[in-house]
Structure formats: structure tokens, C-alpha cells
Symmetry: C2
DNA sequence: TTGCATTCCACACAAAAGTATGGCATCCTG
DNA sequence: CAGGATGCCATACTTTTGTGTGGAATGCAA
């Protein structure tokens, strides 16, 4: 029977398992067996057990699809899929909640409900938030001065830096070409706080036609 | 037997399943049963089947832990956990690969191997890349003019915009306070192309002492 | 009243999935 | 040479997990 140099198949197994873990469905032993091309499920199992011994994988004993990455379980923050609701400036965000256009993976640092929006315009350029960036927003109706928030002003969403002057809300741009917005309190509502900004420097690859 | 108003338990089931999906380990029927508090596994199953009928969940027939979110399967890009290797300017990146300090979830737009780095300095401020930002990098040794790359110059990693003049490599900052780097070709190596920039606007929450 | 839909329970069975035991071959070290 | 480690195969057994069938109770519409 043919056999590979020590450690080589181990790496292939590890890579395959990591891919599956990242995809959200850990593999069974028999799936590892198939993926690597073993004739016997026991071959897969021995590699997996060794990976656990080495501390590179951990597992729930006796549970199906029970392997996981060590740092991912106990201390590591878990990944959440956040709905991408559309773009700032798009229409009614309440409706967009029902028809989100995909998910964005994130690891929340705080408990809460999150949504993602695409940024339009350059009003926050000095804060390093550019046209086309993605903002991840935690839903909350209050924030403090200095927070970057998504606010609804006259039913139009906008990303700005919040300044509270007493009870008065000011929405400050980070671009000298724009003036602060001082909305009528009845027409302004904070939707949430921007907790993360993401920028893709590469366009999506063209997918094949289906 | 006590029973809830129509739809109420369904939502609880859905929420639980979504949490589990986001955490990376879909639940078994018996786990759904336990989580909701049913006495019978069949109760869990019927809710799950209904969620599939409604199009809110999908499943791999007959497979353990086989449920998934519909848009997440076929067309949706799968999530990959990318190792965070440390910060640009830190020591030897080759060693850092063995001792990465966590994972960052991303949905790659192209096939390849990825790693993440923390940015130090403000040399790319005009490109909206700030101190403390996280760059997600696809490993590649070649890039084209205009790409933002991670390069190793005299064993020091740096994030810059690449400019190729013939065979000569120039590494351009996006900040007028810095000059382009024109490294000796023997001392410069491209490690990869920056494909995504992320900024956290919120510090990690303090975790309880263990 | 009957039929249907919804929300639940109980139990048995089938298949998937984890685990155990035996075996072979190669290489290296004591 | 023997023993141990590593990389594999083969098979059987055990447990987990999915599925099927039967049942009960409630509410609503025909």
C-alpha cells in the first residue's frame, strides 16, 4: 500500500477540516475519508485524533460533526451572520429588513442586534469612511458624543458623527465640504452605532452564468 | 397539554437554529428539542419541517445536523476563518504563521490563501487605511501597479501601493509626509495583496476574569 | 358536526456517524 | 533484531441522529 511522508496527509486533513469549519458545517469522519481519498474511515479518524492530541483541533466526544478549532470554542468570539440591508440613502430601512441581500460574517464584541449598510458619499472621508465602504451597525436608539451613528433624518439614512448638545442632536460630517446637520428632533432618529467599517479593494470575481 | 399561540414557538425555534448556524455547528433535532423544552423530538422536527416549507431554512436530507440558511448555501460565498498573524512591522512573519493570535471571518471573493495583519502608522491615510486597521491579505508574490500590497523590505513588513516601473518595484505611501520606497530587488519581496480593510470603532468589551 | 390546521407527546425503527479491534508496511532507534 | 512511531486498510459494533407512525387537544371554517 502506498503511503505519504509523515505529516503530509495530516496537513491535507487539517486544511479540509478548517475549510469545512469555516463554511459552517463540520465534516463527519466519512466525509473526511472521502475528501482525502482514504479507503477506510479509520484512516481519517487517526489523523483527526492526532490533530486533537496536537492541540490543533478539539472535539465534542461522541457527537456527530463534533470537531472544532480550539480557540474558537471557549474564549473565541463566535461568528454571527449579519444581514446586509442595502445602502445608506436607500429607501425605507424597515422594509429592507425583510429583504436583505446577503449576510456578512462578523464577530460581535458586544451583545446586540446588527445590520450592515453600504456607504454612499464622501462626507466621512476624514474619518476614513469612504464611498462604497460597508458599515456594520449595532441597533441602538441612543449613543454618545463622538460615536459614529446611522441616523434617519426625514426618512433618509445617513452616517455621521454624533454630537449631543444638551438634548439637541447634531450630526457632523468628517469632510470640510459639508456642514453639520441639526435636525428637528421629531424628524430624526438614531438607528444604531457604527462599530466596524470594511472596505473591499477587489471587485467580486465574475461568476459563471447559470 | 399546554400549547402556545400559532407561530410563537416557531420563531423561538428559528432564532435558536440561526444562532447555532452562525456559531458554526448546526443543531440536531434533539438539541432543538432540549433548547426549546419539548418532551418529544417530533415536536422539534415538525417546526423544522415547517420552516423548510416556508423557505426560511433548507436542509440536506437525511444528514446529521443538515439544516442551513437558504441564501447561505448555493449562491452565497462561504465564510473562511483567516489567521491574524500580528501587526505589520512586527518581527518575522514566517514565524508568526505558526503562532497566530486568532481568526477573522471573511468571505473570500477569490480562491487563495489569506492572512490578516494589523496596520501600524499613518503612511496610507489618504487611501483610508489608518493606524490600527486590519488588512486582509491574499498571499501572492506578484501584483500590478495600483495594488495595495504587503511587502517585506529588509525583513520589515509594510503596507503600500505598488508601482512597477519595468522590473523595478516602488512602494508608494498615501500620505505626503512620506516618500516612496525604492527597495533593492534582493531585499524586497511581495507577500500578498490587500483585498480588504477593516476598522473597529469600538474596543473589545472587557471580559470577566477567569 | 366534520374536517383541517396547528401545537404538542410517545415510541419504534432505520440510517448515519462515532468508535474499537485487527492487520499490514515502512522507517528509525536502541 | 525488536520495539515504537507513522501511514494506511478492513470490518464489526455501538451510539447518535433522522424519520415514521400513532395519538391528543384546541380553534376555526364549512
Amino acid at each position: 500500500m502506498s503511503r505519504t511522508p509523515p505529516g503530509q496527509t495530516r496537513e491535507r486533513v487539517y486544511r479540509y477540516v478548517c475549510e469545512r469549519l469555516a463554511a459552517g458545517l463540520p465534516p463527519t469522519m466519512r466525509e473526511v475519508q472521502s475528501a482525502i481519498g482514504f479507503k477506510s474511515v479509520q484512516s481519517a479518524r487517526e489523523h483527526m485524533e492526532k490533530l486533537v492530541e496536537e492541540g490543533r483541533l478539539a472535539k465534542h466526544e461522541g457527537k456527530s460533526r463534533g470537531y472544532y478549532l480550539p480557540g474558537q470554542g471557549a474564549g473565541q468570539r463566535s461568528t454571527t451572520l449579519v444581514p446586509l440591508l442595502g445602502s445608506v440613502r436607500a429607501g425605507n430601512l424597515t422594509e429592507a429588513i425583510e429583504d436583505h441581500s446577503g449576510y456578512v460574517p462578523m464577530q460581535p464584541r458586544r451583545a446586540g442586534e446588527y445590520f450592515a449598510l453600504l456607504v454612499e458619499g464622501d462626507s466621512m472621508i476624514k474619518a476614513g469612511i469612504m464611498e462604497g465602504d460597508l458599515v456594520l451597525v449595532r441597533k441602538q436608539e441612543r449613543a454618545v458624543t463622538g460615536d459614529v451613528v446611522v441616523a434617519l433624518v426625514n426618512d433618509e439614512a445617513t452616517v455621521k458623527t454624533l454630537k449631543l448638545r444638551g438634548q439637541r442632536i447634531e450630526l457632523h460630517p468628517a469632510n470640510t465640504r459639508y456642514k453639520p446637520i441639526v435636525p428637528d428632533p421629531d424628524t430624526c432618529r438614531i438607528l444604531g452605532k457604527v462599530v466596524e467599517v470594511r472596505r473591499h479593494l477587489e471587485a467580486p470575481k465574475r461568476t459563471k452564468r447559470r
